[in-house]
């Protein structure tokens, strides 16, 4: 019998890692890695942080050096777009017409930025930030005195704001909600980040609807708000969330629910097809629900799950979902998800820029958001995975170390 053949669609963080884990776990069959972007798999987190500020180069973004793919015998189809999955024939068709048959298919198509369907959205200078090419364009728009308007105060928007300030640009963040990070963080954290950004010269328009982008000669020149004002700018970054690239899966009839539904092996409703990373709607065993996560640790965990299932080895121990973000000299580390929490507890003092917000359900820790507080993050992550009660009094008392709290 010939060796099984794996086709991976999407050569991003998840897809690239899946190829690497397959080889690391001893998979010997052919691996095809199909990626729309012309680049080898790279890391996106630095695009809004170190790379944007000029502190990291393309080499350091790359997941693996160029030479690895030949050494590991991974066949690349860069610049290749998968357009159809034929589940009966177990084959994927590329836009070039090429058909790749598979024994196992891994979908790692990620997500794409949501854009605003408003007037002026197609003006030059209205940007998104997802790919290295996007980052290059954004960087070109920044510099001393250049005015950047950021629509959406989520992580990508705020990270870009911090980097843009470091490059000397003027930054205004326009947010529909009454606070930044409204979808992803608690009010305490929102308040802290808004204040910190304010101290670094970022201005905010909260509770603000965006009506249109105005421009001259096809280039954006302003953001028109619902209250009638127009804020002048030289470029706009739209950071209002992402949409999973699950159309291929939908078209071939796989179960989807705002992302491709998978199990803890990252297997879809078709046993020969896996879905990993930002595109997957995955079970969260700690929280008893399905969810779509957008983070590097999630992409890596699911890449390991799929690769393990394919080679027939035990999957990784389920991880507490976690995420990090860097802005200015702040390191934000988040573990867990605040599902079902009935109270929050702030440990430390936000005024000192080192504190953590614990989300509790009774005396169980559901999630922790830690700013410049690695012990709170690390111990919190441990407490979340253990599912054992914590002493609330100890947790609130900063004279007691997190080691002792978690003991």
């Amino acid at each position: 019998m010939s060796k099984p053949r794996v086709v991976i669609v999407g050569a991003g963080h998840a897809g690239g890692s899946a190829a690497a884990f397959l080889r690391q776990y001893g998979f010997e069959g052919p691996i095809y890695l199909v990626g729309e972007e012309p680049l080898l798999p790279y890391q996106r987190p630095p695009l809004s942080k170190a790379w944007l500020k000029g502190e990291a180069d393309a080499d350091s973004l790359a997941l693996k050096p160029d030479s690895w793919y030949a050494e590991a015998d991974v066949a690349l189809r860069l610049g290749g777009v998968a357009v159809e999955i034929n589940r009966g024939a177990r084959a994927v068709t590329l836009a070039s017409g090429e058909s790749l048959s598979y024994d196992f298919l891994i979908l790692a198509t990620g997500a794409r930025p949501r854009m605003l369907p408003i007037e002026g959205a197609d003006l030059a200078g209205v940007l998104a930030l997802r790919t290295a090419a996007d980052a290059e364009t954004l960087k070109g728009a920044l510099g001393p005195g250049r005015r950047l308007a950021i629509i959406g105060g989520g992580y990508v928007g705020l990270e870009a704001a911090a980097s843009a300030r470091a490059l000397g640009a003027e930054v205004v963040v326009i947010e529909r909600e009454t606070r930044v990070l409204a979808r992803v963080a608690c009010p305490e954290l929102s308040q802290f980040f808004q204040r910190y950004h304010g101290e670094h010269g970022v201005t905010f328009e909260l509770n603000a609807g965006v009506e249109a982008f105005t421009g001259t000669d096809g280039k954006v020149a302003g953001v028109k708000l619902a209250d009638g004002r127009t804020l002048p700018c030289d470029a706009v970054l739209v950071g209002v969330g992402a949409h999973p690239n699950d159309e291929l899966a939908q078209d071939c009839g796989l179960d989807c629910a705002g992302g491709v539904v998978v199990d803890l092996e990252a297997r879809t409703s078709d046993p020969y097809i896996f879905a990993i990373g930002d595109v997957a709607h995955r079970p969260l065993p700690l929280y008893d629900r399905q969810f779509r996560l957008e983070s590097v640790p999630n992409a890596l965990e699911q890449a390991k799950q799929a690769a393990s299932a394919i080679v027939g080895r035990a999957g990784p121990t389920p991880e507490v979902p976690w995420f990090w973000s860097d802005q200015y000299d702040l390191k934000l580390q988040i573990a867990g998800l605040p599902f079902d929490a009935d109270r929050i507890l702030v440990r430390g003092d936000p005024a000192t820029a080192s504190f953590a917000v614990f989300h509790l359900k009774g005396d169980l820790v559901q999630a922790v958001e830690a700013v410049n507080a690695p012990p709170e993050f690390m111990a919190g992550k441990m407490l979340i995975s253990r599912r054992t009660p914590v002493s609330i009094d100890k947790l609130a008392d900063t004279t007691i170390s997190m080691k002792e709290v978690a003991a």
Partner: protein, 106 residues
């Protein structure tokens, strides 16, 4: 170039030339040294790039920042010579450096 020896937990050695300016972690990842996963890509957020610095080199690699210290505090199998390899910048002065990997990254 600085010659760096990475020793896996099972004793397998990888001797590599690493370009100054990269971190010890990047030297490992670029050369596919197993045992240094570096999940966060060097953001000092994951502790999956933990190494033991050979005694003779501890002065030259400098000391951990407070942030690194507290990440290490909660890592597995920590020893006094533990470091996060993404926080050690390679310089010519580190030519000959030897680092070992903990069992937990096996």
């Amino acid at each position: 170039m600085a010659k760096i020896t990475y020793v896996e937990h099972d004793g397998t050695e990888h001797v590599l030339d690493v370009k100054p300016g990269l971190t010890v972690m990047e030297g490992a990842v670029k050369n596919n040294v197993p045992g240094i996963d570096a999940d966060c890509g060097g953001a000092c957020a994951c502790a999956t790039c933990h190494v033991y610095v050979d005694e003779a080199w501890r002065d030259k690699t400098g000391t951990a920042s407070a942030m690194e210290e507290s990440m290490l505090d909660f890592a597995e199998n920590v020893e006094p010579n533990s470091r996060l390899s993404c926080q050690i910048k390679v310089t010519d002065a580190l030519d000959g450096l030897v680092v070992r990997m903990p069992e937990s990254q096996h």
